[in-house]
Amino acid sequence: MKGSRQPKDKKTRSHDPSRRSFLKGVGIAGAGAAVVDKLWIEAKENEQQTKSSRALSGTVPIVLQINGEKRPVQVEPRTTLLDTLRDRLEPPVTGPKLVCDMGTCGACTVLLDGKPVYSCLVLAVDAVGQSITTVEGLGSPEKLNAVQSAFVEKDALMCGFCTPGFVTTISAYLKKNSNPTLAEVREACKGNFCRCGTYPRVFEAALAAAKNAVNG
């Protein structure tokens, strides 16, 4: 279980952005998980439809704190933070990517009050009042942070679609642990998938960034 993906205070949070904690909660893992997921989703849908006689659509205005800026936006209660960033904000924030849409791949990772979460599993309305940092907030092409520079230097990217997620996860992790071992780096990014096969160089980049930060 990835501790950093847990909300910092369960009591104040209506939604736990961890699919795994749900699975753990019902005591099922592995192949059975898919079936449970589907049953769960269906049950939720049925429940919602029978309970509510009102239309399920409609938007509400909220203000999100994104990369240090206040960003007003209209969302549906069901709109995820990821979809809000990409499809509703004007101009959009497209660093975080939509890839699996089910909290497995990490391409949509953003920081909520400094902690990495899958933004496809966070409702936009739940992110109100928290500081949201995306990969764009960590550094720009002209002024990269240590992790971003190391990714370029070590060629820790190919197609680049998973890269914002890895960069965000590792940037947050190095704040927690500034001098990690290889094993700790592997553990830190186990919630991020890459298809091109950049893992070894992602590890190298993370270790190099930590070293540079310590020496610099």
Binding site: D37, D87, L144, D155, T163, C196
Partner: protein, 739 residues
Amino acid sequence: MQQPQATPKKKKKIKVPKVVNGIETMVEIEVDDDAGPGWGPNDKHALLNHRLTRVDGPLKVSGAAGYTYDVRLPNMLYGRILRCPHAHARLTKFNSSAASKIVGVKAIIQTPLKEFRFAGAPVAAVAATTPDIAQDAARAIIVEYEVLPHVVRADDAIRSDAPNVVEGESNLQQKDKRGDVQKVAAALNSSDAIVEAEYRTPRIHHTCLETHGMVVDYSGGDSATVYASTQGTFSIPADAAEELGLPQSAVTATVQHMGGGFGSKFGIGIEGMLACKLSRQTKAPVKLMLSRYDEFVMAGNRSGSWQKLKAGVKNDGTLVGMQAMQYRLGGLGGGSQAGQPYVYRAGEFYREVYALHTNEDSSIAMRAPGHPQASFAMESLVDELAYKIGMDPVAFRKKNLRDEAYHRQLDRGAREIGWDKRNPTPGGNSGPFKRGTGCAVGTWGGGGNAQCKVEVRVARDGSVVVAVGTQDLGTGTRTFTRAIVAEELGLQIKDVVEQIGNSKLGAANDSGGSTTAASLSPSVKDAAIKARLAIAEKISPLVGNAKPEEILFADSTVTAGGKSLSWKQVCAALLPAGVSAHGEWRADLQGRGVHGVCFAEVEVDVETGKVRPIKMVQVQDGGLPLNRLTMESQINGGMIQSLGMAFWEARVVDAKLGLQLNPGFGDYKLPGSLEMPELVPIIDDEDKREVVIGIAEACIIPALGALANAVFNACGVRVRELPITPDKILMGPNGRKAA
């Protein structure tokens, strides 16, 4: 007035690969025989064959790189596809009136299909103001089907009583038959040992992280721009124009960055066709990116394989005869599978190759189509034979591989993995955690073809642009394109800007079959040489009237006759329009035919069947490495994708329902950070060919065999069906756990 006639140039005929939908075939073409300056020795480059960080790196690590999926236009609608939930069904009712009443729904169109032959076939598409509303509308469409008989498993499809996937046609279609079965029988009779075995590989998915799709920027005017996640910028405009009812010249395709293709992204696809239709109907821009579920059920896959092989060997290790029954499992498509005995000399051989159809979406090209499947089976068989006659597997391979390149690579890889230290007895190590080592080889073409037209422009202020419509899939095309020009003009990478990914720029080939580097780089080099000579001619009077070809461009300085000018001074002497040079492909600057070997070490827990990959080494040649850093990344990528195929990845289909059971990242297991072994990518610098050859496909071929053979060496269990999951290991050496 008579057109001036060019002096006829001396021509020569050469064979080049032609790629159709990612599948490579060889064609003969005629090219000029007047080779210009070559690349020069591989170890004498200023930039090429060095470790160049990719030029789009800063954009990609900061979220600033714009992918098709990131495009958002004013008034843009979002498309969603409704899919058939049955493996075989006929449409009996379609009612979209409720769906069309949902606020925000702008268009609903039906596909022309009335009979669906795989679960996931597109039935209809919706355009709406948000992705969620589009999804709501797709759900609200009422569809009824008459469910028809289906077959989704190869073992079922081959039976004579199986439902026909295509009416009136046998599910089994012969594709190739070669060799003399009698001669093989005689050879097998004369052999000292025979192995007969069946090997299977499942269908696996590309799982491009950026799904297939496009954004059609059309608002009813007389032109359109199509943003496409594609491996072929020029594979888009014609079909998009047809769907939009526009002339092809009015449609521009663009792809600046793309999130993975691996062979699956050529042409506009069904999703692109639907996006164009929706845009045409609504006169509004439409973005239609497949959902992850869509991507699994209809964006293509690597065909599965089922191979029945039998081979005989002499006690000295010489293969004397082999026969093969090869089934390509491509669903509705024909699938692909390299013919056996793959790269080996097998003496007499006989093979029959069939496509075995099922009610599944068609397989499409995937990185080295058909090769990993064939390589896994052949390399396993070779290994089995070597163990059977008690011969070292490396020595056995050398005995039966003609090409010297494999011999040196096998030696290199063996040193790197510590082959001599392994226990040659399968399962011979004590304790429950048993280590083992295996190896395998692979080959690919990687040659180019004459399509790329490149322009290099040098302005009076010294700025340099290299422009061509090609695309960078994450392979590093942008970087080597810049580097070639920078090196030719004696500049640094940062002094050159590349413009790519746009069909209004110079022609380029699709990136399939590892043909991009060998097709593009000669044209870039040619344009850069011509730009250099044009500049040299212009400034010759400033450097003592030196001959243009004798003027040296290096270190941002131009030198001749004892005089030096800075690059700025040189460019200031150009005409106001600067210099523009056009490059064409030169056959002599590229080559074909690469070799690679992979060695793998694994640890098998024989009590749980769990395999832990420890180390993988791949030695890969490729002529002139344009960029060592990105080439190593490609080799890593090949090893890692093979690792997925070897141990985790498989499309799981329910025979009764005809549905894929794992169409998502929660259940389709990709290689992750915790499973990574130590990876050692080695560029084989003993390859002295001064030509560019593509290597991307080659890197994914040999690792499957190496890993499977390592598992056998570790625990003595020969798993002949991928993926190598714990259950198969626990079944034991004879495929059945001892009672």
